[in-house]
């Protein structure tokens, strides 16, 4: 008798869960899957809210993480994504345009700047400003956090910025002096995971994006545009800032956020509408509100490969 009742119980359980599972499948409105850089989390959530209101049949599922990690999830782990948005526009041609292409164009829709954030608790918080920052940061006892240049864009961008600063301020040894206070112990995969360390006083200064500073309401230093990688027009000058990483020597490039629609998306209309929203006035407004710089209109590379609705929202990349 017991085995009969056990099997009955199991059967009932299966029967009850089946409808739930089936429902999850059948009901499905279209899902739009986005992989995006961590720094885009907040603005994208706002854009998604607007998008879903405009397109009620579509649910957006967004994942945020390091730009390279997100790209590799598509290329290596073969995960399904419709849109890829990265913090460094170079990631797309480097990873997605390869031997097996996963994308054929990209649009730069926002820009950022490298800066240092700090709190009232930080050492020398009262003194530091846009002129003396590199001297303050080099003082003994100052703890600086940054992300890993081998794995994260903001990591190598910080190093590039310091290299440019060394020339800009004509202060040889500036890069090493500052990096001395940013030892391996203060390094993480992504800069955002160090924000709690900053808030808890474990580190005094954190190399991070200006957008993060504004989003987290943290004090930050306004570094000159000549070094903070925020201006695509100064791209040539930025090349002089070189970061030596395990992936090779990386020359500085402007921090431009780029987006593309991944090849082989199940249904192209939904992702295209999202990108259109991003590149259009609503999207630009959202990016500005979150501390990012914008371009009017957005820059694009391989625009001829873009769908028509998107092509009209972009202009050619400067210098191309």
């Amino acid at each position: 008798m017991k085995i009969v009742s056990t099997l009955t119980a199991l059967g009932l359980f299966a029967a009850c869960s089946a409808p739930v599972l089936l429902a999850a499948q059948a009901a499905e409105p279209t899902t739009l899957s986005i992989f995006a850089a961590g720094t885009l989390a907040v603005p994208f959530k706002q854009a998604t809210a607007i998008y879903e209101k405009q397109n009620p049949g579509v649910t957006v599922q967004a994942q945020f993480g390091g730009s390279v990690k997100m790209a590799e999830q598509i290329t290596d782990l073969h995960q399904d994504a419709d849109i890829l948005a990265v913090a460094d526009y170079n990631v797309i041609p480097k990873y997605m345009f390869g031997a097996t292409p996963h994308a054929s164009w990209y649009a730069g829709f926002a820009r950022n700047a490298i800066t240092f954030v700090y709190t009232d608790k930080s050492k020398y918080a009262g003194e530091i400003n846009a002129e003396n920052w590199y001297k303050v940061l080099a003082r003994p006892g100052v703890e600086i956090g940054r992300s890993n240049p081998d794995t994260d864009p903001s990591g190598y961008q910080t190093v590039q910025m310091l290299a440019l600063a060394e020339k800009h301020y004509k202060s040889p040894g500036l890069e090493d002096a500052v990096l001395k206070n940013a030892p391996l112990a203060n390094m993480r995969d992504t800069e955002t995971s160090l924000i709690s360390a900053l808030q808890l006083g474990q580190i005094d200064y954190l190399a991070i994006y200006r957008s993060d500073a504004l989003q987290h309401h943290l004090k930050f230093i306004d570094l000159p545009t000549a070094i903070n990688l925020s201006d695509p027009a100064q791209a040539a000058a930025y090349k002089a800032g070189i970061a030596h990483t395990k992936n090779g020597d990386l020359a500085g490039t402007p921090i431009v956020y780029a987006v593309t629609v991944v090849d082989g998306a199940k249904e192209a209309a939904a992702p295209e509408k999202y990108v259109a929203l991003l590149l259009g006035p609503l999207g630009q407004g959202i990016m500005k509100n979150n501390g990012f710089g914008t371009f009017s209109p957005a820059y694009a590379v391989h625009a001829d490969a873009m769908p028509a609705d998107l092509k009209k929202l972009v202009q050619p990349w400067p210098g191309s």
Binding site: M1, K2, I3, V4, T6, G66, V68, K69, E72, D76, L77, K121, E143, N148, D150, T151, D152, P183, L184, A185, N186, M187, R188, D189, S193, S196, A197, L200, G201, Q202, I203, K246, N247
Partner: protein, 283 residues
Amino acid sequence: MAWLLAADRAPGAPGERAAPSSPRGLYLLCWFLGSLLTAFLVVPLLALVLSQSWAGFAQVARMADVREAIVLSLEGAFLSATLAALAGVPLAYGLARTSFPGKGVVEALIDLPLAVPHTVAGIALLMVFGRQGVLGEPIAALTGLRFWGTLAGIVVGMLFVSAPYTVNAARIGFAAVDPRLEKIARTLGLGPWRTFWRITLPLARRGVMTGVTLTYARSISEFGAVVILVYYPMTAPVKIYELFLRFGLDQAAGAAVLLLVVSLGLFLVLRALSRGAPERENR
């Protein structure tokens, strides 16, 4: 199949027709479900191992930083398990033998770290053990010991998420020891310490070793809590993740397999230790 038939001839039921509730049905169910679960656990690991070519695996095994990361994980886990044993075993004994108001709360609190998301745990530990932490600051001032980016930080992260295993398993082990045996030992002239050491602990050995092994295993695999406090030097999970970010799946999988192989060897040793033949008391 003979054992299946033998189950029907259980004493007390000679000649009875095998009812559905007889052991045979139960054994079949156990086998079936057990095989499913074992397969569920083993197949992904096997897939991981088989995804490696021998050459690729050998290359990863040659990378000094991968080996260092594994050794660091083993070191940290060893310290974590040791601390869990030193502090957790007495706690488990107390919980097994005494009752006091609020005991249920204490036991629930001990289980709590298992439910806390690892990142949250890491931040909480940073709050306490960081540069300006309520414990971190005085400890650094008094002893110079720091937890940010150090082995101590690794151990703290590991210990927090894995100590409950030691306490729970050891507590069950102690509870299974008949308290009358302890009483008899006392009447034989053994003081409370000797009684614990010569009678209670050996009899609870299985439970204690299971708990410590679980703590050790859990410590090796911990990522989220550890990485908040310590990124460099890299433990194995952190290293594997970094390899994934830099080189992709293949290298990461290779390092993971190396870690698995080393861990498997260790666990076999620990299990063998926990079984142990009964001692002979020769004065």
